[in-house]
Amino acid sequence: MWSWETFIDAFPFVIEGINITLGLTVTSYLLALAAGFIWLVLESTPSRIINFFFHWIREFIRSTPPLVQIFFLYFAWPEVPYVGMTFTPFIAAMLALGIHFSTYISEVYRSGIESVDQGQWEASKALNLSTKDTWMRIVLPQALPPTIPMLGNYLIILFKEVPLAATIGVVGILSLARTYGSNTWAYLEPITIVAILFLLLSYPSALLIRWLEKKMNNRFEKKETKVKVSK
């Protein structure tokens, strides 16, 4: 049965973990943003075999469960010959989630770059810009801003995957809620608190992203000649 006393008792205990939960979200997101670029490079080398190889590696990471990847890095990585080492739970979860989400982020980057008009490349060539200038001054400044809402969406999705780290002992809010539950045999209230905290953090962010999406759509909409038909 629901008890407000337990709720009030559990709340300060569970909220202790919010720093870890948010910290893991931010660090793995930064990793995903950086690694997303690496995939892009690995998949557009001059060699088609290498591109094909990394495309399927990325597809592999993308379509297998992040939970297994977390277990792999935490439990099995130390046993890998030559490169194996022991990670703390936090680092293992950060690497696993960061790499898992980088496979999505790289897709977002790609869609942004592909949406840049072909004429921009041709004009850069005609102006004799170097490859670096073409990318840094012409293509990326146009490609990246429209992807911001999508990148924001992935931040929210990543945030919701972070409690998976509780399974290897990262002491975030979910982990603390389960500890509280196993100590007192009251699971209902602490887990409800976790759900409420997630909702409180992710729902306003989702609304913000939707608003941003609308603004971006208005701003970056391909200017079409709109014919107004008078009614």
């Binding site: 379509s63 469960p65 939970l67 297994v68 792999f72 990585w77 998976l164 399974t167 759900a195 992710s202």
Partner: protein, 219 residues
């Protein structure tokens, strides 16, 4: 190589649990998606409000939290037993991804051109007929690629059921690793490969769906 095959045959004990949960959860996700998606485009504000709350709550919290909530909290709160852990897993995944996929249904239905509705009204079709014979057939093809993607997500989600004590592929992978510590990397690699093999047809499906949704149709 030998031990890889060994591990594969050991893991395959959990294959049916993973596949059966995946199939059942996919089925119920689709049911929830169409039900909730269509409820959100009806006129009645109460129906719309309730389904919007469902969708936002389940999209706003994570699958693992919902799974634990159903597993630990629901029996305490309502004194009901959801049957078995198998059902807890299926219901949690179906409610979660049903909420996500209902957004796909809703946005696809809304993106069918206004003129189609107007033409259907002009032809004197009822609301239900309009939806069934005019709007939905056109909206369905728009949903295909997203549905393919979400089916991969559902498959990945099924790995969580090992946390509530179901004996799926990951469960057997864990057992194998804990008894053969030095073969841990190979054990988890095989687990990942098994999931990937199940995912391959889904990847193909979502790529195919993308082609179908882009083909033809003016506008």
């Amino acid at each position: 190589m030998d031990s890889a095959l060994n591990i594969l045959s050991y893991l395959s004990q959990g294959l049916w649990t993973t596949v059966s949960i995946f199939l059942a959860a996919t089925f119920f996700s689709f049911v929830m998606a169409f039900f909730a998606g269509l409820c959100r485009v009806v006129k009645n504000p109460l129906v719309r409000g309730v389904t919007t709350a469902y969708v936002e709550i389940f999209r706003g919290t994570s699958l693992i939290v919902q799974l634990f909530w159903l597993y630990y909290a629901v029996p305490m709160l309502f004194g009901i037993n959801l049957g078995s852990n198998w059902w807890v897993g299926v219901i949690a995944i179906a409610l979660n991804y049903g909420a996500y996929m209902s957004e796909v249904v809703r946005s696809s239905v809304l993106s069918v051109d206004e003129g189609q509705t107007e033409a259907a009204i002009a032809l004197n079709l009822s609301r239900v007929q309009r939806m069934r014979h005019v709007i939905l057939p056109q909206a369905l093809r728009l949903m295909l690629p997203e549905f393919g993607n979400y089916m991969i997500q559902i498959l990945k989600g099924t790995a969580l059921v090992s946390l509530i004590g179901l004996t799926d592929i990951l469960y057997y992978g864990d057992i194998y690793r804990s008894t053969n510590l030095d073969e841990g990397p190979l054990a988890y690699l095989m687990v990942l490969i098994m999931y990937f093999i199940i995912a391959l047809p889904l990847i193909w499906l979502s790529k195919k769906g993308e082609k179908i949704s882009k083909k033809g149709v003016a506008g």
